[in-house]
Amino acid sequence: MKYDVVVVGGGPAGLGAAVEAKKHGANKVLIIERDRELGGILNQCIHNGFGLHEFKEELTGPEYANRFIKMVEENDIDYMLNTMVLSIEDKKIIALGEKGLIDIEAIAIVLAMGCRERTRGAIDLAGYRPAGVYTAGAAQRFMNMEGYMVGKKVVIYGSGDIGLIMARRMTLEGAKVEAVVEVNPHSSGLTRNIVQCLDDFDIPLLLQHGITYVHGKDRVTGVTISKLDSNRNPIEGTDREIECDTVLLSVGLIPENELSSDTGVELHNTTKGPVVNNKMQTNVDGVFACGNVVHVHDLVDFVTKESRIAGRNAALYVLNKIENNETVETEAGDGIGYIVPQQIDTKLGEEVNLFMRVRNIYSNRKLVVRDGDEIILQKKRPHMIPSEMENLKLSAELIKNLKGNISVCVEEA
């Protein structure tokens, strides 16, 4: 089998990239998806809030996915379901499907495998290993797609968005959510989700608290929680037990990059995703990446935006229309956790969106972009928090005149 562009992953990033590659002149485009249907995790995200940027209306996850699946069909894009890519080497893809091993040749490849949840092992949760400890996303799939109620008395560990959404979902389905326990002094989810998922239902959010023990041998019977000091150590005498039968973990997501690193794609230390330039190109010739496999986004709309860049450039690569010019690096300065893309091709002649996360909660500060010592852009920000991605637009004009590496810092306004 030979294709122009092969997209690994049929979630929002993969769908967006495939459609865009086709629109920009790639003739044969294939999506490979390991699940039984396209749409990825959006299919289990039945809550609303998707698509405000993309479609100017508020959709649920399945509705958002549906629109892109229709575009895939309208554009005659091939897809394989129940098929998993095992390896990529020199643009040769080996995948395992229902009929066995498949060899596929591609001119360009787009990596769009998304991310996965951190589990109990990742946070060293003490106790036996009873039934009733789930990641929030697994519980979401059980409840929203498979039709199983995962518990009745719940403690949620971590205040990531999926955990917050599940606090509301379980409450609506008749469970009692005792508390959301968060080790940081601030929530790691979007503010609107704190309001409509916790405050609406009087669910307490315990900041700077940790679960120090999970009780129960066969099934969870409760957890011990403690207040934490600034080094995240439990403060003596503050522990108390909460009775519950279920613990949901919402303690972060990690881009899924085993395939990328086996392929020789360079990964970034902070994002844990491929190092990319403003064409969403990786260091491996003809291999592009987009979506949560590059860095974990908080809005699917931004994933779509990014996937379009990857898809379009994959098509241009196929048509031999991509030029590789000198690039400059982007550096995360004071107060900034990371910046994507990590490299900018200054000759591309297009504006660039820099996506970044701040390290702390900041009020009334500004984001300052410097080319060497020279300030080239600054934007005031009344409020910034680590859980909400920041976005700075650098105009084509600005990019054209860059002399060296650029850095972004958080500074006093």
């Binding site: 039984r36 249907e37 299919n43 039945i46 809550h47 609303n48 809030g49 405000l52 508020e58 959709l59 649920t60 399945p62 509705e63 996915a65 549906n66 409840m143 929203n144 797609m145 498979e146 039709g147 609506l172 389905e173 008749g174 979007l190 503010t191 609107r192 704190i194 309001v195 409509q196 609406d200 908080d298 809005l299 409020h383 909400e388």
Partner: protein, 121 residues
């Protein structure tokens, strides 16, 4: 009277200040769009929420199909609505936007399917 609330209309999450004036009208500040202003006033007078859930489906690819309210409903009706949805069972196939329950709880709002699901025998 003044109240600080976070707008939940979109993911921006503007921090609104809603002030009740002497003539019983409200002034909203801190919003960055028109919808935020509407939300601010509504939240003080008659709070509403979109509700998304699932209903059982027969012969579908999955056991459940996701549904949503076609518009936001009064907050106090949420649990009554959830109870009503407990007993709803539809048959595949269903298409996104299909009406599952019409004029739910007399609100004039429909419950609609939020995905396609084909029939699997």
């Amino acid at each position: 009277m003044e109240k600080n609330i976070t707008c939940i209309v979109c993911p921006v999450g503007c921090r609104l200040t809603v002030k009740k004036n002497e003539d019983k009208t409200y002034t909203v500040t801190g919003n960055t769009c028109k919808r935020g202003e509407k939300y601010g006033v509504e939240e003080m007078t008659a709070p509403k929420r979109m509700v998304t859930s699932t209903v059982k489906i027969k012969d579908g690819a999955l056991r459940l199909v996701p549904v949503k309210t076609s518009d936001s409903i009064p907050k106090e009706l949420i649990f009554e609505l959830m109870e009503l949805l407990d007993d709803v069972e539809i048959e595949a196939p269903v298409m996104v936007g299909d009406i599952i329950v019409e004029n739910v709880l007399g609100t004039g709002i429909n419950i609609v399917a939020s995905r396609d699901m084909c029939k699997v025998s």
